[in-house]
């Protein structure tokens, strides 16, 4: 492929040259909008049209056996990621290969025949963000970055702070000042540099973009190394297919914040088909949002392909991105595959958190509550085929957002320590 050289040469955030195969089978960065190509580097916006840059690859033959012989983490898919061949040797959080649980109780409750939960709450910092951060950390290392940073709605800050600590790189994480306390603590415990910004996530994001443009040697995982970071979400799709026995589900429900995860799971399925690792078959992709921040769902329902930014107002703070950069691609994918984008109220989010916990023993945070609640709504409104194999993604652990359900659940009875009091309580 021809690579234009009208931007920076192939160097890192400090101007140092890159080593050979620093990004494995990746060959360059390509604009998703206009196709313009540039060399691998800490770039995220197309110099021609500002469109998002994506990693381009020249994949070799990859077999199921090669993948199955790999480690039980995302690096089993390293040939399909922008990471070096020796990625396992560098200190990282080794996320991924989380459980795919058959969810018969929840399926029965919702009226579905075959349902699985991809439970990413069991990653090292209890959210799917460990996957993307592992790829971003590799990029930061290869770019010789001095600071590992992010703007975040919480989960990402946790993952960046922890991964940076393990890798021995300075971390700075920026969060909205009103973020849930547990998510603040979960980051601050790993880093001295948690910065609370008076504003919403979009304000924090804007600040990070400005800093990334001014400061040398900074790797903002979801800004200037975003093309590499975002590729980590593909591993969710690879794992789901592998854990289903190397086949794709019929339907999948995915939460939508920026929209990146949904687009990357779809990309992963497409790559597996092209590589001959799974059978080519139709599947439907559904996006889930909370009504208080549902710009993609609103556009979907209105039948338009432009996203109108909103000011978020929802308890699902990890999905509270009012100006989702990948929203238009979510619309394209959900429409092309015959899926949909749906949204539910905060009360429905809370109810879905409890529903998942009491049917499957999985405690999800508000994002997972949104996804399960939207699954329920899709069934109730006839938008999803109850006879088909369905996967729903749980992206984070409920311990991060205890406040969301603390008024919904609690002691069923408070009694004196006697058998008589217990039998009188009505518990049995």
């Amino acid at each position: 492929m021809s690579i234009a050289t009208d931007t920076s040469p192939a160097t890192g955030t400090t101007g140092s040259a890159l080593r050979d195969r620093a990004f494995g089978n990746a060959t360059g960065l390509a604009c998703r909008e206009c196709g313009h190509e540039i060399e691998l580097g800490p770039h995220y916006a197309c110099p021609e049209c500002f469109g998002p840059l994506e990693v381009a690859y020249d994949f070799p033959e990859v077999t199921r056996e090669q993948i199955e012989a790999g480690p039980r983490n995302i690096w089993r898919y390293k040939a399909l990621l922008p990471v070096p061949d020796d990625i396992e040797q560098s200190p990282n959080m080794e996320p991924g290969y989380t459980r795919l649980l058959r969810a018969d109780n929840l399926a029965r409750e919702l009226g579905l025949e075959k349902l699985w939960v991809k439970d990413d709450s069991t990653n090292p910092t209890n959210s799917f963000k460990d996957r993307v951060v592992a790829c971003a950390l590799s990029a930061a290392t290869e770019f010789h970055s001095k600071v590992f940073a992010c703007p975040s709605t919480g989960n990402l800050a946790n993952a960046v702070a922890a991964a940076g600590a393990r890798a021995g790189i300075k971390t700075v994480v920026f969060i909205p000042a009103n973020l849930e306390k547990p998510k603040q603590v979960n980051s601050a415990v790993y880093t001295e540099n948690l910065v609370a910004v008076n504003g919403n996530y979009d304000d924090v994001n804007r600040l990070a973009s400005e800093i990334a443009g001014e400061e040398e040697g900074w790797a903002f995982v979801n800004v200037n190394v975003r093309p590499y970071y975002a590729e980590g979400s593909k591993t969710l799709g690879y794992e789901i297919a592998e854990q289903l026995g190397w086949r794709l589900p019929d339907q999948i429900v995915i939460p939508v914040a920026s929209g990146s995860q949904l687009t990357k799971v779809h990309k992963a399925f497409q790559e597996l088909i092209k590589l001959g690792l799974v059978e080519d078959k139709p599947y439907k992709v559904y996006g889930a949002q909370a009504t208080g921040c549902s710009p993609v769902s609103v556009a979907y329902k209105a039948g338009i392909d432009a996203i109108r930014p909103v000011k978020p107002d929802t308890i699902a703070k990890s999905l509270a991105i009012g100006n989702p950069a990948d929203g238009i691609y979510v619309l394209d994918i959900c429409r092309e595959t015959g899926g949909a984008v749906e949204d539910i109220t905060d009360d429905q989010v809370r109810e879905a958190i409890v529903l998942l916990a009491r049917t499957e023993g999985i405690f999800t945070e508000t994002a997972g509550g949104t996804t399960v609640g939207v699954l329920k709504k899709l069934v109730e409104t006839g938008q999803l085929d109850t006879s088909l194999e369905t996967v729903v993604i749980n992206t984070g652990h409920g311990l991060k957002t205890l406040d969301a359900v603390s008024d919904l659940v609690g002691a069923a009875a408070t009694i004196e320590p006697s058998y008589a009091a217990f039998t009188a309580s009505g518990i049995i």
Partner: protein, 91 residues
């Protein structure tokens, strides 16, 4: 009216490397016209062929995203700081 415009890295080839320039105009549209007059080519990077803001560009007048204001017709009072920032995502 004179305003200050923050220029993102990928547009600094048009401003001789300057990260901030001054421009004149009572609205964002007029400011972009003035920028174009002094830094030829920059407007086509910010606006699409139909003259609308490109999808992946965010422009702020002060602290406000112009998509929440009046878009290209947003007023730009004297001394205003305007920021042009590539759209990014995360979470």
């Amino acid at each position: 009216m004179s305003v200050h415009v923050r220029i993102p890295t990928i547009l600094r080839t048009y401003t001789g490397g300057a990260s901030e320039v001054t421009a004149d105009g009572a609205t964002l549209s007029a400011v972009l016209d003035d920028l174009e007059a002094n830094h030829t080519g920059i407007r086509a990077r910010v606006l699409d062929d139909g003259g609308e803001l490109r999808r992946f560009v965010n422009v702020y007048v002060g602290n406000d995203d112009v998509r929440f204001l009046e878009g290209l017709a947003s007023p730009t009072p004297d001394g205003t700081k305007i920021s042009i920032i590539p759209a990014v995502a995360g979470g």
